[in-house]
């Protein structure tokens, strides 16, 4: 794995692509090291907020050293990021965590499942997986984002909670509605969705990889802040806890308790 670094990145562009959703391109050498499912941690500027905010890698342009982050304004830190303009500088820590096991998709039939602000990491993942794949996306309402970008890399199915676009419901309802099947699932989204996927995968003997979230402080495995419960004793911690920032954020669904 590439060495982790704290670097100063330059904002190339930022635009709003949904209600409270922002699309940020940064120029940074970290782009070269980034794999799908990994994340960076972005530092707020100004001194009252100190901890960096973990944001998944949405897309990379390795040749131009560019990294794309797509995020929702969820609080003060992300609100501050949303004011960045081209030319501004942001400190970021990266590349962090272990991404999706792209190899496991080889020769398999794959679902990429993204719910809400879990959709962004699916883009870089979709680009990395050569196989034919179905991309299942869940949104709140017709305020879609990234679905056009994703459509370039697979068959996109959309569900909305209010039924305004595509299947009414969530990504699981898409599977039912279209009677879809997969050998491997790779997913990111809210906890209820991940729980449903874990259950569905277990019941159907499907290999599933899910990306988890937890509050982080260090992002590099030092503080033990960001753990999740594991079904077996974790090799590093020697207890039933794994660090999401280091062993994760992507776990095989059966390894973790949700």
């Amino acid at each position: 794995m590439a060495q982790k670094k704290k670097v100063t990145a330059t904002v190339i562009s930022q635009k709003q692509i949904g209600e409270q959703i922002f699309d940020l391109w940064l120029e940074t050498k970290l782009a070269k090291d980034a794999h799908p499912g990994q994340f960076v941690a972005v530092y707020p500027r100004g001194g009252s907020m100190l901890l960096p905010r973990p944001i998944s890698i949405c897309e990379t342009d390795r040749e131009k050293n560019r990294l794309r982050l797509v995020y929702r304004v969820a609080g003060k830190g992300t609100a501050e990021f949303s004011t960045c303009k081209a030319g501004d500088r942001l400190d970021i820590l990266g590349v962090l965590g272990n991404g999706f096991p792209v190899d496991r998709a080889k020769g398999k039939h794959v679902f990429l499942m993204g719910g809400g602000i879990g959709i962004p990491p699916m883009l870089e993942l979709a680009k990395a997986i050569g196989e034919k794949k179905q991309i299942l996306l869940g949104y709140r309402n017709k305020d879609l984002f990234l679905e056009e970008d994703l459509a370039e890399y697979g068959d996109v199915y959309v569900a909305t909670e209010d039924g305004s676009v595509g299947t009414k419901g969530n990504v699981m309802d898409i599977i039912k509605a279209y009677s879809l099947h997969a050998d491997v699932i790779m997913a990111c989204g809210p906890m209820p969705m991940l729980r449903a996927i874990k259950k569905y995968a277990a019941e159907n003997g499907i290999e599933a990889y899910i990306s988890l979230e937890e509050r982080m402080a260090c992002g590099v495995g030092a503080c033990l802040g960001c753990v999740c419960r594991t079904t077996k004793v974790d090799a590093h911690s020697h207890v039933h806890n794994a660090r999401i920032c280091t062993e994760g954020p992507v776990f095989e669904a059966g390894e973790v308790e949700l």
Partner: protein, 300 residues
């Protein structure tokens, strides 16, 4: 220019250490920092057996700092010696092991297991506010602090640092008790107990309700406690609480700390420790200071 300091007979190449629990076992920050540049690596608290720690969320950001309620998750002394100490041995720096326990016996077991290892000092955590049993219970009362300190001193092969809690009326009383019981040094401060509430969900942000506050927000309290304690005891003090720059570190040295440790600010800038080392050197150069020890307690 000489940045060497001596604490309880142990020589440190410079007065800059890591604060327990904020630097893993050193490995986690070795991508960023050459551990050979540090005075010491102080490890995460380790108990006689593995501890699961508290449920999540375990960390929360607060104004100018953070709360943590890790609850002393650790892999237990066996894995620690085998894996973490083995890793640290490769570096030319002192290793200080932070020791925790639920009962005095737990502490003693860890202390004994470490007796034939190469660790330079033991730091006894009697001040973690995030576990129900042990820890802070020993550190807030003069009698129990005296008792645990003297029992540990009887078994310990390495010099013993007692790590004090700031959640007390008069830290000098505790410091004096630890000194009287034979402690070789003190470290302070551990975290200050705090709380954060999510007003939209009407819930505690931390699963543990309360957590220990650290970061720049606590620095003035830490500097004050170091200064007060330096006036009250003769044993050396390792100062910490909000250090994020050489300026901060020098403030602690001037207040009387013999060495300093960098905690939460590692998370904000993973290069902090080495930047503090370099910044102290630059300050010494600027003011023509030969020995870093000249700074210790030099405020007036």
């Amino acid at each position: 220019m000489n940045t060497e300091v001596k604490i309880a007979g142990v020589t440190f190449k410079n007065p800059v250490m890591t604060a327990s629990g904020t630097f893993g076992s050193g490995m986690e920050y070795s991508d960023f920092v050459d551990l050979n540049r540090l005075g010491a690596v102080v490890t995460k608290g380790v108990a006689n057996v593995p501890w699961e720690g508290n449920p999540t969320p375990r960390v929360a950001e607060v104004y100018g700092g953070m709360l943590n309620a890790i609850g002393l998750q650790n892999p237990g002394i066996d894995v620690f010696i085998e894996r973490d100490l083995a890793f640290l041995k490769k570096y030319d720096t002192n290793v200080i092991v932070n020791v925790c326990g639920k009962t005095v016996e737990d502490y003693l077991e860890v202390v004994e297991r470490l007796s034939d290892t190469s660790v330079s000092m033991l730091e006894i955590n009697v001040s973690c506010p995030n576990v129900k049993e042990g820890a802070i219970a020993f550190g807030q009362k003069v009698d129990s602090l005296y008792d645990i300190t003297s029992q540990i001193k009887k078994k310990a092969k390495q010099p013993v640092i007692m790590k004090l809690s700031p959640n007390v009326t008069d830290i000098t009383e505790l410091a004096k008790a630890a000194e009287a019981a034979g402690a070789d040094a003190l470290s302070m401060i551990n975290t200050i107990t705090g709380m954060k509430i999510d007003i939209h969900r009407k819930k505690f942000v931390l699963a543990n309700k309360t957590g220990g506050m650290s970061g720049p927000a606590v620095k003035p309290v830490a500097v004050r406690m170091v200064y007060q304690t330096v006036q009250a005891v003769k044993i050396p003090i390792i100062g910490m609480g909000g250090i994020g720059s050489a300026e901060d570190a020098i403030e602690f040295l001037l207040a009387g700390a013999s060495a300093v440790a960098v905690g939460a600010m590692n998370f904000v800038n993973p290069y902090t420790t080495v930047e503090v080392v370099e910044g102290i050197e630059a300050y010494m150069k600027q003011y023509g200071i030969e020995n870093v020890t000249e700074l210790v307690g030099a405020v007036s």
